[in-house]
């Protein structure tokens, strides 16, 4: 139950729906879009994600938007431990689902799979109900028990106050085995210069409740003698975003955003551990990680869309930094070839980040413990590339079907960063 996030999606969508007012929306009353994405990492996680979205725009320009999404994730996920030349055995509380068969050396001690009658494979977490797995020498330690299901819903409503101002409010909710999130948001868009300029301001508030399986591990407590500090944790987030959208010509429009996110609460991943090494490089123990309780992220984002020779070019760049030491660059380019009622859209994305200042590959038993430390590869220096193509066919005036296939690859300083995934997606959209 390493976690993924739906909330960002929902909030982004809420902002996006208001930013999108600039150039008009579909004139149809209702639009329904259904999509399914299959995400599959080689030897790791597989995710299946169906989504349904409904929106309606009325004659006054008022827009209402509902989205419901479901995620089902399973597979193996890096647990944070360093690669070793010895076989490593771990205790897992991150789930006890259908992958139990892959555990190579389950001990005779506490061990449980989900054999209840409630039709799910969730971790039925109780302290002391754990499993074990062994990782061969030289391999990245992966916890094979990663499994989770998530349901999320959101709603957004925007309406014009007058010819120059549009406002919006929204709410969202998501729930998974060990995580619950509730958010509200609101925004204001001001149109200037014959609607060639749009200034937007948005605010979002969110509360997250985390209930780690097996309890919240005490910072740097050992895996073999896990101490817990409680069963539930909280996190509160305030998001702010200001946006400028400017029409550049009859064929070009740009957007420039600044955003800030202040998060206060539990940021630690309760399932991630760190190898504690002795003087000979031998693994002596595994410690639960510990992250700061506050994080402030900021980003500047610029995007431009050109209509060129009948095609559409979409280019964007984001620079993000935070008080954990992360600095990242993200480039994204899409080129859409429009051929009658068919389009072909190649896509390339490049991302690179510097490590957080508390990222470690492992800790040494001869050193004092730091205040914060994590061996989660996602906090290390890494880069990733996405290459793909989307094919769309508008086979009726108000109907469109599209397919997308992409390859997502990561590499970085950590051995665990070596990952590649295949993404397959189908969308069907109808307006009536």
């Amino acid at each position: 139950m390493q976690l993924k996030n739906n909330k960002r999606w929902l909030l982004s969508r809420a902002v996006g729906s208001l930013l999108g007012v600039q150039s008009g929306v579909s004139e149809a009353d209702w639009q329904v879009e259904a999509a399914y994405r299959h995400y599959s990492e080689t030897d790791r996680v597989t995710a299946m994600e169906p989504v349904l979205q409904l929106n309606k725009v009325d004659e006054q320009g008022r827009k209402i938007d509902f989205t419901i999404a479901y995620d089902s994730l399973s597979g193996a996920s890096p647990n944070g431990a360093a690669v070793s030349d010895q076989a490593q055995t771990f205790t897992s509380t991150s789930g006890a689902g259908g992958n139990a068969e892959s555990i190579t050396s389950a001990s005779g001690t506490a061990y449980k799979i989900d054999d209840d009658d409630d039709d799910d494979d969730d971790y039925e977490g109780e302290a002391g109900k754990t499993s074990e797995y062994t990782v061969p020498p030289g391999e990245v330690p992966l916890d094979p028990n990663f499994e989770d299901n998530r349901l999320s819903m959101s709603m957004n409503y925007s309406w014009p106050l007058n010819r120059s101002v549009t406002t919006s409010i929204g709410g969202s909710y998501s729930s998974e085995t060990d995580y619950r999130s509730i958010g509200v948001n609101g925004g204001l868009s001001i149109f200037l210069n014959q609607k060639n300029t749009q200034i937007g301001m948005f605010l979002g508030l969110e509360n997250d409740l985390i209930t780690p399986g097996g309890g919240t591990p005490m910072a740097f407590t050992t895996m073999s003698d896990k101490q817990v500090t409680g069963n539930t944790e909280n996190k509160n987030i305030i998001d702010g975003l200001v946006s400028l959208t400017q029409v550049l010509s009859k064929q070009a429009v740009m957007q420039l955003n600044y955003s800030m996110s202040i998060s206060d609460g539990y940021h630690t991943d309760p399932y991630k551990i760190i190898s504690l090494l002795g003087g000979q490089g031998d693994t002596q123990e595994y410690l639960y990680e510990n992250r700061p309780t506050e994080r402030t992220k900021q980003s500047v984002y610029g995007a431009i869309k050109y209509h060129l020779f009948g095609d559409t070019v979409d280019l964007s760049y984001r620079y993000m930094w935070d008080d954990w030491g992360v600095k990242s660059d993200t480039w994204d380019v899409k080129y859409r070839f429009n051929i009658d009622n068919v389009y072909v859209q190649p896509h390339f994305r490049h991302y690179s980040q510097e490590a957080t200042n508390f990222y470690v590959d492992s800790l040494l038993s001869s050193d004092n413990l730091p205040q914060f430390a994590s061996a989660d590869y996602r906090l290390s220096a890494l880069s990733s590339n996405t290459v793909g193509v989307k094919l769309g066919w508008m086979f009726d005036e108000n109907k469109e079907i599209s397919f997308r296939v992409e390859s997502y690859q990561q590499e970085g300083d950590s051995a665990a960063a070596g990952m590649d995934a295949l993404i397959l997606q189908i969308n069907y959209k109808v307006a009536f």
């Binding site: 909030l11 999108g20 999509a35 996190k235 400017q246 996110s261 859409r336 990733s384």
Partner: protein, 94 residues
């Protein structure tokens, strides 16, 4: 403004590759910010001249499902989020 951009994208210990990247980034933002310094340079686009701009693919936020899927994946695999929309919270994994 240029100094601010350089400060934003600047970092210690940059090699030749990073230096070139910073230059590209700075030029990209200059391109984006040009309208702010000289709106007079921009043609005034009338409402009836916005047929192309009204196309869904020319509208920011018109492809929410795809963008939502992407943000969902990248948030869970990378230490960054936000920019296009909100960037805060929702999960303890990053």
């Amino acid at each position: 403004m240029i100094d601010m951009i350089k400060r934003v994208v600047g970092r210690k210990g940059m090699g030749l590759y990073a230096g070139a990247r910073r230059l590209i980034v700075a030029r990209f933002f200059i391109l984006l910010l040009m309208p702010l310094f000289g709106c007079g340079l921009l043609p005034e686009v009338k409402p009836w001249q916005k047929q192309v701009l009204a196309k869904p693919e020319m509208t920011f936020g018109s492809n929410e499902l795809d963008e939502g899927f992407d943000d969902h994946i990248y948030f869970s695999k990378e230490a960054s989020s936000g920019g296009r929309g909100f960037g805060g919270g929702g999960c303890g994994c990053n």
